[in-house]
Symmetry: D2
Subunit: 325 residues, 4 copies
């Protein structure tokens, strides 16, 4: 750490990066070259310049000069392997299936149809995070067993959400990829636990997270030793009652630019409207998405969760046609 | 207006649409068919059920059963003509040029380059809305004369922003299309005045407007007799410091779906980052945009406004190449 | 303007304040003393360091070293005089009255009641900004004449909104204070025009404006020569459907801290809920508000606009009692 | 469940509350009496009217006609007991202390000072949720032991955050109240686990949660059998870089109005600015808050976390003086 003087003001530079401390300035503009428009701003007291905090016992690890998620941390982009499927290797991977696993026949029917239409990974919720404790909470272990059977029959690898550190082993035993839901993006105990599993992780963005906070959540997993992380944009909180969320495709593109990790998009949750999913799927791929995650149900009208944003089987097949063009 | 009873509750239906008034309900869920997920909710006092407000003298016109902007109001989509260019007729129209008109040579150089690259309309600010009164405010009439000369030389029609009712005639005299900026989207005096001009209008979305509020702003113009309105999405207010705004492509797609008016996208303002413009331009077209509006400057580093989000001439030409693929 | 070098990087300082340009930095944290946590960040191209833009003809005035709105620009706080009433002199000023002027009797009844309850300025809309062109738009000149009569009878000074530069003279002739609505906060033509009137101005905050943008809007008025400006917080855009807006009292307190201008709060628009207005009025005064603006209607159920957030006369009187405690 | 017809449309009412399904409506306005402005809207397919989903095996419990958090669910307001302190019984309870427990002497000094100034509960972080894995993560068990010693010496009951289901027993053993952080508000596994502890819970609002989502998170805890829950508003996501969050006092007041649970406010996190904490504390109490939570550090400049928003000991004592007036 070094302190220098510039025009009567004191500046201090630290690593990682350069930290500049300005002691006596009352108002100013900062102009940056475009590459570093991102920055974290925080305030310190002028008198802290010489503060010498003791050893930070709570800090579990030294910060690397380059974060593990940063593009500069490795050559080329990371490819995440889910079963035999590669995400981030160039060909967009479509993940599809019902919001919730409701029965063997519903899941099998959905799996066969989405595979025939071109999807390469099956999604299906076993443990469902729900705003209300009185809503359907998922079939739990029964759903995991259904997913395992359907995987065997269709040869589709499976992704399912894990809600708690206590469920990680059980879910990991039955599926090929573990999903962290948007509401758990900063459940740091869960992120740390996933850093120690051998399974790939799908990390959804929280509806109030900046791109940097999302990347830092991924950093928790990478710092634990697991670099098989796929980022998933699913919409940020919106004030418009006609859209469930605001689909932040520029945020997804920015995440892909700042990081070597693959990033996919979930237009089902991002819009909450079946009628917008085809247009938004095309937009996501045009923006560089490494894949899509789409809710598909054999009978959306009877779905136990998220029916209004689920596509039916013919609708999904038709949309997949237009994506190939 | 009729009042009916249902299960002990009173409901009232009015036009346009159906208005239902529920007098004594303490908590409920509403389920709608997907097509009508949009709705306006407001509250009234129980005691107002029999209120008989007098003639609403301030209401300037009767509300039509279908709003003029609604898709159902006409057959097919509206095509807006700007000079010889058609927006909404199928082929995406790219509008490009400098944020501000700074000089004849700068404008001419930009115009020739963007035309060569495939742009069909020139943009250039003469009157600039600026957060600070001490920032560059545009060259005003001088800029309008420059735009007129450049239009003549390049045969590109021109769009420029109008800030005030008092400027409408002067700007309309020199350019082919009048732009309403995001901060004026609900400047109703200006909207009414533009309803009476014969020139097409580019209506930018306010950074805090819902899609319905945006359409209602267009309704002001249409209700005045001018149906040549192009909607332009340019980002809504974001909490992420790395992005100038949140690019709401789903909002743009929804506006196109609800209305017959063409809608274009402005990735320059929506992201504020030159490096994201190509990806977001491709995404906008994939989402169905009828065109793009992009800031291009011969020397972005010396631009008097918005330099950091302006593309340079070779960068723009290169991006246009990728859009054609 | 001076360019200095620090540790191999180039910095440039300009006025007002200090501008620092950093040419070759890839990532950094900035730590500030708390007083300057505010800042404007923008990006420039590295190559612009030596750019010499010509004379900025569009800049109407030199930027002062200290903005006119800044607390440091004058000793003590500004007191704004509306008729005989002082806003910002210590005693909170309550502005109350109907959203819209609907008739002479309605306005007179409201004025007498709010005066008896302790309000010192009458509000009443003559020209109403409405999302829909088919909604009640205000009685216009008729309303101004009603306000003038009621002012004479009750001796209450009057504030009313002005929507357009063209209306400024007419409204100013009939009322004591001119209101700029939230949707016109960055209608710069209107702000400039109000800088040249001798009447005080009530400047509402836009629902998407930062505190700095709000202060810069006031700067337009002050820069024109009129320093009689009262800031009014009325809520920023919210994602919660149960509240019309998010009441940003910390933003109001921050504006009062950064500026010498008085600031008041409008809990009617900020919450959209009559039942929250008393608690939020008390909170605003506790946070330092120089006054309140509250919608009151003799018969809210029959109000032509904003009935659901209007208090009735006894409710208002009762609330005023609790504010005095 | 009953289906009725109204004017050719089909409506269906269910419990809890009344659910109305409208099958063939293309556009409408809904007017409600003010008490029920809140509502949940979702979409269903017209064809689902006769759908008969099977037994919802995943639903863990029957929804009560009135939610447990609703004001109507009990007579009077809930009083939460933390040691000998009552929250919600009328006298505002001030919780204060350092963001993180850093050492015994720091914690003891802070505890003695805040007690002398009038605080009745000590806060102190043992397990810290941090955006970056490289930031200080709290002293963990060592901090819990420090809190226990300081509690014994000062007789102040203690609240500390719990990050994970696995930590619940350990934290509960050492402290008097368990805090759920904003980022864990919808960590449903944690909420369910806390429903089965005998300790009171402080439930912070997520920065993107509606008031209803916040109440539903509390419902998870109450449904598990623990009704000792205090709601804590700590700011929602803001776009203004000068404020860490937007302090939503109206949301807090609304939560208190809808629920019988006590609600307190945390101006430290809500504003991120020490200079605004006194004004916002006064505002929160004026808005009806049952208490405050404030970060206080003997030497904010050397704090290992959140120093810029921590008050020092004299500043806190001085503010407490002003609250008593």
């Amino acid at each position: 750490m070094r302190i220098v003087e510039l025009d009567g003001l004191k500046y201090e530079r630290t690593n990682p990066g350069a930290a500049i401390k300005i002691a006596a300035l009352s108002f100013f503009h900062l102009f940056f070259p475009k590459e570093i428009r991102s920055m974290n701003v925080s305030t310190v007291e002028p008198e802290t310049e010489t503060a010498q905090p003791g050893p930070k016992r709570g800090r579990p690890m030294e910060a690397p000069a380059t974060r593990l998620v940063d593009r500069a941390a490795r050559q080329g982009r990371t490819v995440v392997r889910v079963g035999e499927v590669e995400i981030g290797a160039g060909r967009p991977a479509v993940i599809a299936g019902p919001c919730s696993v409701e029965s063997y026949s519903q899941t099998l029917e959905a799996a066969r149809a989405v595979k025939a239409a071109g999807a390469v990974i099956l999604r299906g919720g076993a443990y469902k995070p729900r705003t209300s404790p009185y809503d359907f909470q998922g079939l739990g272990l029964e759903a995991l067993l259904i997913l395992q059977r359907v995987r065997k029959e269709t040869q589709l690898p499976v992704v399912s959400e894990v809600l708690s550190t206590e469920d990680v082993d059980r879910v990991a035993e039955h599926v090929d990829m573990l999903q962290v839901g948007a509401r758990n993006m900063q459940n740091f105990a869960l992120l740390r636990r996933l850093g120690r599993t051998p399974k790939p992780v799908l990390l959804k963005r929280s509806p109030a997270a900046t791109v940097q906070e999302w990347l830092m959540a991924a950093e928790y997993i990478l710092a634990g030793g697991n670099d098989q992380v796929v980022l998933c944009e699913r919409g940020i909180r919106s004030y418009d009652p006609q859209l469930r969320n605001t689909f932040d495709l520029a945020g997804m593109a920015l995440a892909r630019q700042l990081s070597h990790l693959p990033a996919i998009a979930d237009p089902s949750h991002a819009t909450g409207r079946r009628d917008l999913i085809p247009a938004m799927s095309r937009a996501a791929l045009a923006a560089g998405a490494d894949g899509l995650m789409i809710e598909v149900h054999p009978d959306p009208g009877s779905a136990l969760s998220d029916g209004s944003q689920s596509m039916d089987l013919p609708g999904f097949a038709q949309m997949m046609e237009t994506l190939r063009r």
